[in-house]
Symmetry: none
Subunit: 130 residues, 4 copies
DNA sequence: GTGGTCTAGACCACA
DNA sequence: GTGGTCTAGACCACT
């Protein structure tokens, strides 16, 4: 699951995998994450690295870290909130990615189709279409 | 246009801006880019940094670097080529980004709309709809 | 081992020596290379130059660069891969070299003998003769 | 025939093409080369560049340059001569190339076959097998 | 301690 | 005038 030789930092990969797990529904809002030491053992990496990933997720407002109960997915995640939207600059990042795909000659319809397929595979909330 | 305090390297930002300019049609295939030293003074950065960005674009097959006329956008860019598409774990990168947006509570339809809007704003190739 | 006065760039010479060491078996797949700074002091050159050589080898898919353990020879190197063979205008390069040798009056049989001798001295892969 | 965007210098490409033409027999020993200005016009390049290529060939002992008759292929080319062999370091260059091919996973027999095919396609001298 | 980035200045090759 | 190379030193990110 992790590529230790990748140029993308390990803590970033952990963060990405957690975010994807939440989006897919594998990690429900309010659910607990493994302890840093446990995940470090599972992934055979230094626990400081896991710590850094968790801290990043906390600063992004995606998880909460309690002294006693460990890290849990914030219950209000996946709900529209200005707090979560802020600091995302997601339009710019998406624009950069789309520009690269366009320049590489990947057909627009293929990209749109992939985006729709991925998004529709996410469980979604009951209040999505109010 | 550049954020010198960003965590994303300056040379990467330059590379991204060039790619976007090509996708938007602002930089047509065959068009020339400023010389490394010129762009360096324009952006108030070191010319080695521009050099690295150009070298990255060259290795990606997006521009050509000619000893006399400087850097030009490859005329055959935006033509689907296996080599260019190959370097593409783009589905994974897109999936990670989409998961983050979903977790941040951004409505799926808003994302799809933005994607379509950005893509449709790109001029596109003549052979896009054969 | 290095010729600082040569017209071929130092970083290219380093890259060539590493490739030769791999072919000879002196550097086995999976083996580690010296750290950039270490090799720099060993060769009495700037570490940036070594850095560039390693980066070139990485982009060629010959080594992997790991943040903690440094550079290692890719374990799957020497296994025929289309991507590695692709970057190969090798027939043209070989043709140019052979033409030069012919013009210089080096007997064809001597050239063939040298080629065979060098190749046969390389350990080779287990799957070479299936 | 020339790739103006290549990373290999134009004057070097000209030199390589001339050497190949001699090896193939298209340019016989003693034959004359086009004038620098003529070749510059033909190739649509600066005549100084052709000049540099010719000078390189002269310094390599492959052609002679006469004030009146222009550049001619040395009549004694293709014959074994210590003068021509010197300064070639061809074993080292061949070794580097072969090592790269081996590392890229190209079968040894394929390389040997290509070398033999190219060499045998060169006309060869009557005194080759004395 | 590892590699990565940026800056800076000098020199060279190429066209 | 163009890009390419090498050197040098400082700072940062990652593990």
């Amino acid at each position: 699951m992790l590529d230790l030789d990748s140029e993308v930092p390990i803590y970033q990969q952990i963060r990405d995998r957690v975010v994807e797990a939440i989006a897919e529904g594998a990690l429900a809002p309010g659910a607990g994450l493994p302890s840093t030491r446990q995940m470090a053992v599972d992934l055979a990496i230094n626990f400081h690295t896991v710590n850094k990933a968790y801290d990043l997720l906390r600063r992004e407002g995606i998880i909460r870290i309690n002294r006693k109960s460990g890290a849990v997915v914030r219950p209000d995640v996946k709900r529209p909130s200005d707090e979560l939207r802020a600091g995302a600059d997601w339009e710019a990042r998406m624009r950069t990615l789309l520009a690269e795909l366009d320049v590489r000659g990947i057909p627009k319809e293929e990209v749109k189709g992939h985006v729709a397929a991925v998004l529709d595979a996410f469980p979604g909330r009951e209040d999505e279409h109010p």
